[in-house]
């Protein structure tokens, strides 16, 4: 917890390109950055490591001028300057490649470059021909070949990333050299070969004097490509280390930063037949596997937690299990019946209770009444409709009962769902889903954005389900929650299950390592 082992070796070695001091930024009640210091030296590759929500992207957006900080200061080349706007940042050679690549899909490569680069050094308006010529020129020089006439739609993800890097290089060239290049989780969508090529380019840029900042939560990548690494946690800088002096284990512990919490609940080890048995699940998207070889089972009366950084495949897994997505391969067996490819409607009627991750988008019809929302997905049941006619009395009774049972603070069942607070909205969804005699509960980020009371309530309900014999699949990005609730955990990384951990055997360091894809681990116990 208290290892503030800041290293200064890097700073003495080289010249500072950009230095941020005491940067703080709040969004409403959320503190994204809290007094963060960061120094990027010329010619270094600097990894910014942290879990989801640690404040990495916010910090980089502040540096790039697209987010303005509440406090803090910035020095460029050792000289204090006012916080730049995005345009000023680019003019000072600070460029950024965003996580969600900002390209116009119907434009060609050259047209997209022209969006970011309007003027030549001579102050003339950049023409399409000139933009294309310079793309080719930079490409040849840096080993980043691109066809300026190719439409973006025909490009692979790797090529789109290449385009963004070339655009940044061109922007840098036009203002006397690329000072800082920020890459926000550039490897998320790339294949291994593409990642290696990217890292080669990154090293070349650093050798040429650019400070490259790479945002990542993958420990392997930090070790592989960076000179120094800054670890962020909960918006604070935990540490800044020279990569060569640290280990993945230390980084994992710093990133996750907490010891295993004391158990809030008794953990179960039931031995009945599995309620859900998933084996060899694979979902392919083009040539890439979103998830691959995912196998696990959940028995009645236990909570299985799915651990992993965002985008490790846990969303896709939950979509397969709940029938929102068809797997390309593998089987899903529910209560002894093969339900692979059964479709959403069959599955939610086969008593899967599903608490979706995005409650406002997927779980509720905002403008509709609570009455409407309480039967969403249940509305085909004979209890609520007969030969196509809604049974209004039964629906009213159902809604009124759930409002009472789940202690929902509302003016009545005619109130629209969108006017409820987040916690009460989640209670509506829980009430609806748990009113099914559910054999399997799939809860995705069930406490995201809730306050303490709401969080405790939701967790209590999930444990109650488990204790009454349901199997619970808990998908969450909140490690505390997973540690507190899960009887067993599987750790996902890059679409695969890389670790299986029993409750009580998990410690933050191992989990951090596994989440970062640095270690495989099997279930210890029988």
């Amino acid at each position: 917890m208290s290892s503030q082992s800041t290293s200064t070796a890097g700073t003495e070695r080289s010249v500072s390109a950009v230095r941020l001091s005491g940067v703080s930024k709040r969004f409403g009640t959320v503190t994204a950055n809290d007094g963060v210091d960061l120094e990027l030296a010329r010619g270094e590759v600097h990894a910014i490591l942290g879990e989801n929500g640690a404040g990495k992207s916010t910090l980089m957006n502040i540096l790039h001028g697209s987010v303005s900080p509440d406090a803090g200061s910035i020095e460029i080349d050792g000289e204090p300057v006012p916080w730049p706007t995005t345009r000023q940042a680019i003019e000072r050679g600070i460029c950024m490649v965003h996580q969600h690549l900002l390209v116009v899909p119907t434009f060609t490569v050259a047209e997209n470059v022209l969006l970011s680069v309007m003027w030549t050094e001579a102050g003339r308006r950049m023409s399409l021909q000139e933009a294309g010529r310079r793309v080719v020129e930079i490409g040849e020089r840096q080993g980043l070949p691109l066809d300026p006439a190719a439409p973006i739609d025909d490009l692979s993800v790797g090529e789109k990333l290449r385009l963004e890097i070339v655009t940044s290089l061109l922007q840098g060239e036009l203002c006397g050299g690329l000072r800082v290049l920020v890459l926000d989780e550039p490897t998320a969508l790339l294949t291994r070969q593409e990642i290696e090529r990217l890292f080669g380019i990154v090293r070349n840029l650093a050798t040429a004097g650019t400070a490259v900042a790479i945002i990542t939560h993958k420990l392997d990548e930090v070790m592989e490509v960076s000179d120094r690494v800054t670890v962020l946690r909960d918006g604070r800088r935990v540490s800044c280390l020279v990569t060569a002096d640290t280990t993945p284990a230390e980084l994992g512990r710093l990133m996750v930063g907490r010891e295993t919490r004391p158990r809030l609940i008794e953990h179960a080890r039931p031995d009945g037949p599995p309620v859900l048995d998933v084996s060899g699940l694979r979902v392919a998207d083009g040539g890439r596997a979103l998830i691959d070889e995912v196998s696990f089972e959940i028995r009645g009366g236990e909570i299985l937690g799915v651990v992993g950084v965002a985008g490790s495949g846990q969303d896709v897994l939950a979509e397969c299990v709940t029938g929102l997505r068809q797997p390309s391969d593998g089987t899903i067996v529910l209560n002894g019946q093969d339900v692979t490819g059964a479709g959403r409607r069959a599955l939610i009627e086969a008593t899967i209770a599903h608490v979706p991750e995005d409650r406002r988008v997927d779980g509720l019809v905002g403008p509709a009444t609570l009455r409407h929302n309480f039967i969403l997905g249940l509305h085909r049941r004979p209890a609520f409709q007969q030969r196509g006619w809604l049974r209004r009395g039964a629906i009213d009774a159902h809604a009124t009962r759930l409002v009472g049972e789940f202690e929902i603070r509302t003016r009545g069942v005619d109130q629209s769902a969108q006017t409820l607070s987040g916690g009460n909205q989640q209670r509506v969804i829980l009430g609806r889903e748990l009113s099914k005699p559910a054999g399997l509960v799939v809860a995705c980020g069930p406490t995201r954005g809730l306050d303490i009371v709401g969080t405790e309530y939701v967790r209590g309900r999930l444990v109650e389900q488990r204790d009454s014999g349901a199997a619970v699949l808990l998908v969450s990005l909140d490690l505390d929650e997973l540690l507190a609730l899960s009887d067993r955990m599987i750790v996902m990384h890059g679409g695969r299950v890389v670790g299986r951990v029993n409750a009580g055997e998990a410690d933050a360091e191992t989990l951090g390592l596994m989440m970062g894809g640095s270690a495989a681990h099997g279930w210890g116990g029988p």
């Binding site: 969600h100 690549l101 900002l102 390209v103 899909p105 119907t106 973006i152 739609d153 692979s156 993800v157 789109k160 969508l189 998207d285 083009g286 965002a310 985008g311 969303d315 029938g323 929102l324 479709g343 959403r344 409607r345 069959a346 599955l347 939610i348 009627e349 599903h354 979706p356 988008v361 997927d362 779980g363 509720l364 019809v365 905002g366 403008p367 509709a368 409407h372 039967i375 969403l376 997905g377 509305h379 085909r380 409709q385 196509g388 006619w389 809604l390 209004r392 603070r409 409820l420 607070s421 916690g423 009460n424």
Partner: protein
């Protein structure tokens, strides 16, 4: 692959990934339109009508007439006699059937603006039956109405088919099919179905029965029945529930296991059928001949009716009577006060403009502003 194509939520691929650029209106906009229209209050509508009348006044003045005289001539022209009222209701029934068809499709998130084409096709279907089948009149009438319904339904079903199979946006295809329908009837009335004069068919003998005086035909009863049926459908049936869910939140509908193609397919047939029925009703009740310029764009005016009616059955009924009264009143005003009848189109347009302008204000602006003023520090529950 279209990574980077979506502005937000890229990390989360939902449903089948879209491939390539498409001419389509973002689902979120559609959702917001439905929400705004169904959420706006009656007062918003009244204010829009009053504002439209006020703003039109200087224009009447500029045209050389007294606005007060013009408006009273209009009211007189719409409600001053049994005949006038009959004419208003005969016009309103067309707007009711069209408005209902448009309302249920927009309510389901299917932005069908092809009512005009479906109206023409319905008129064609009814004319073909009534012209070429000389059975007993009641049977001819029923068959003509049914075939009108089916023609409209198929024309709209084509739009749904294009959307569901090829992903063509319904706004574009339904609009384009309007021109196809109009040109088709143009071809028929100048060609194969031509009577002694080009551009029209023979007189259609089968007529809807009169129910009052010598003008008011049974079409208004037909539309009132349609209002009740559609209200029941939307409010009380499982299909209506699924329509409302799909229109308000397609994502939640997917999570609830509602099949969008099935709902959109059924809604498009019903919607087009109602518009086709409007065409059949106009032919059999009022026009008694199929002209190459059968409709002056009622299918478009009816979009305004559906929107002003808040996409509800009874709202459409009221809005349709209002628009019917405006149009008939203006026609009579032209005779009595010398103000051009096109004033009614102007007022209709202004009503819609003010209504659409007022929606965001009534939904968020003043109300939220007032709420902030009245309860400055409301604790969040």
């Amino acid at each position: 692959m279209s990574v980077g194509a979506e502005p937000a939520g890229v990390g989360r691929v939902k449903g089948p990934p879209g491939d390539g650029p498409r001419l389509s209106v973002p689902a979120a906009w559609k959702r917001r339109v439905v929400e705004a229209l169904t959420g706006a209050s009656l007062w918003t509508r009244v204010v829009a009508v009053v504002l439209a009348l006020i703003v039109a006044a200087p224009l009447i003045l500029a045209a050389g007439s007294n606005p007060i005289e013009a408006y009273s001539a209009m009211v007189e022209g719409a409600f001053g006699s049994d005949q006038a009222i009959a004419d208003v209701l005969n016009r309103a029934d067309t707007f009711i059937l069209l408005g209902l068809g448009i309302a249920i499709s927009i309510r389901s998130g299917f932005f069908n603006v092809g009512a005009e084409g479906q109206l023409w096709l319905g008129a064609l279907g009814a004319s073909v039956v009534a012209l070429y089948w000389s059975g007993p009149e009641p049977l001819v009438l029923i068959a003509a109405l049914l075939v009108g319904f089916v023609f409209g339904a198929l024309w709209s079903g084509l739009v749904a088919l294009l959307k569901l199979s090829l992903g063509v946006d319904e706004l574009i295809s339904s609009l384009m099919l309007n021109y196809v329908a109009i040109l088709l009837i143009g071809y028929l009335t100048f060609g194969p179905m031509k009577a002694y004069r080009a551009g029209q068919t023979e007189r259609i003998e089968a007529e809807l029965p009169l129910i009052f005086g010598d003008r008011l035909h049974a079409g208004i009863l037909l539309s009132l029945v349609a209002v009740i049926v559609i209200w029941l459908l939307v409010a009380r049936t499982r299909l209506g529930y699924e329509m409302r869910t799909l229109g308000s939140n397609p994502d939640a509908a997917r999570y609830a296991g509602i099949s969008a193609p099935s709902v959109i397919g059924r809604v498009s047939l019903l919607s087009g059928g109602l518009c086709g029925l409007a065409g059949a009703n106009a032919i059999l009740g009022a026009q008694h001949v199929l002209l190459s310029d059968f409709s002056p764009g009622w299918g478009y005016t009816a979009i305004a009716v559906a929107l002003l009616g808040g996409l509800t059955a009874f709202g459409v009924l009221l809005a349709a009577v209002l628009f019917g009264a405006l149009e008939i009143g203006a026609t009579n005003m032209q005779f009595t006060a010398g103000v051009p009848a096109s004033l009614s189109s102007l007022i209709e347009g202004l009503i819609l403009v003010f209504f659409l302008l007022a929606i965001p204000l009534s939904l968020s602006g003043p109300r939220r502003w007032l709420r902030r003023r009245l309860r400055p520090r409301r604790a969040e529950g």
